[in-house]
Amino acid sequence: MEISIFEAVGPIMVGPSSSHTAGAARLGRMAAKLVGQPFTHVDFGLHGSFAKTYRGHGTDLALVAGVLGMYQDDENLSKSFEIAKERGITYHFYETEISGAHENTVCMSFLMQDGNTREIIGSSIGGGQIKICSIDGFPLDMSLNMTTLLVINKDTKGIIYQITRTLAANDINIATMKLTRQEKGATACCVIETDSEIADCVLRELSEIPAVQTVKLIN
């Protein structure tokens, strides 16, 4: 695999650590994008090295900044606690152990405005790169470096064909695809990475497939 020069000189970020600060901000931001709707409170369960060193590396500030939508190079990142207060969003940190998880892993539980809870687990795997490991208990493996589609659907015959046919008809090439399900016939989850961007009309088409429950696009 060829390495881009911008991985050797980059990323542009606020310090002090690409994994503990930049990666943490990206994890928070992507988690907030994945839950999509407005939320009022976030619990951050810190595992491994995140639990041991989060104060010294600003991991806590970075996670909160991330869920507020701030990028890893935003100089206001260190003021994220104040900004959260202004926006009426509360947060809590606790140390936890997640078996088999990467050293830098966080479990983020979002309390949504509608009273529901959403849970996202993700790891910061070095150099600012991240991995989303689970959404609401679904085991996943998303790096979110490419255009990524997350489809939650009922596990029925032909559903994958319907999804891929819709993408093909819109001239979208699939780079990678991963499927998981709770159990046979229950809720299933499909993560698709594509080579090109996906227009809103394609998302609408996908969400109109009867067995599809939700469609989420992360650019």
Binding site: I5, F6, A8, V9, P16, S18, T53, R55, G56, G58
Partner: protein
Amino acid sequence: MYHNLKELLQQAEDHEVFLSEIVLQNEIEQFGTTKEIIYQKLEERYNVMEKAAVRALGERLETAGNLISGIAMQQNVYTEKGETLCGGFMNTAMAMALSGSEVNAAMGRICAAPTAGACGIVPAVLISIERAKKCSKQAMMNAILTSSGIGTIMMKNATIAGAEGGCQAECGVAAAMAAAAGVELCGGTPAQAVWAASLALVNCMGLVCDPIAGLVQVPCAQRNASQTVNALTCIDLAMAGMTLPVTPDEVVESMYKVGRMLPPQLRETAQGGLAATQSAQEIQKKIFS
């Protein structure tokens, strides 16, 4: 496409161009991007680097535990008095490296090169030469290209992670990247650039990663200053014609192997070296309790 220093150098010599041109063409070919986009990204990086290199020279920044707050300004004040041993050039370079480290520790904006912990070195070396030799903006962009090309080879054939290779893989690689780019800015040959990078690695081979309390402050900031000096001296050594009786790629391989031989305590775990001292333990308790 090149896989190691030998191939990068060979291609530059075959086409009679600097290393930066080969690095640029490779990036265009491998990632389907354009020269314009690449130069735009390089300029963004240069601007962030320059700001971080001067920001803490005139202002003391708060860092976790304040282990290195004010060190860049202190070095700058000393330099401006004009009574230094190593001269204004070397002392200003060290002050800029310290500034980069202090900005990073204070959660300011930096450009990782190749890592956040080593972010002070490449800017300090390149900006020092830019001022001394009055280099053009274009030359500076090319210098960042050369340094990043050297960096990607280290990522492919060795490591830039302190947890894997110790400080030699972070600050050492940064010095190697800066040294090669510095030779290009000084009008040296591609071969001299590759030797300068190799010499920089040789001069810090085995350097351990032992951050006090696991924070990216001490001895990271001090090593940003000393590896800046390492890079600058290697540029002069290579420009004078110094080579080694081993190949540049053997140096990279050795650095990687030495890194793997280091016990885990000396690879960013804060369990050995300075981090294991009684003073460091007390600092750690104070900050994290």
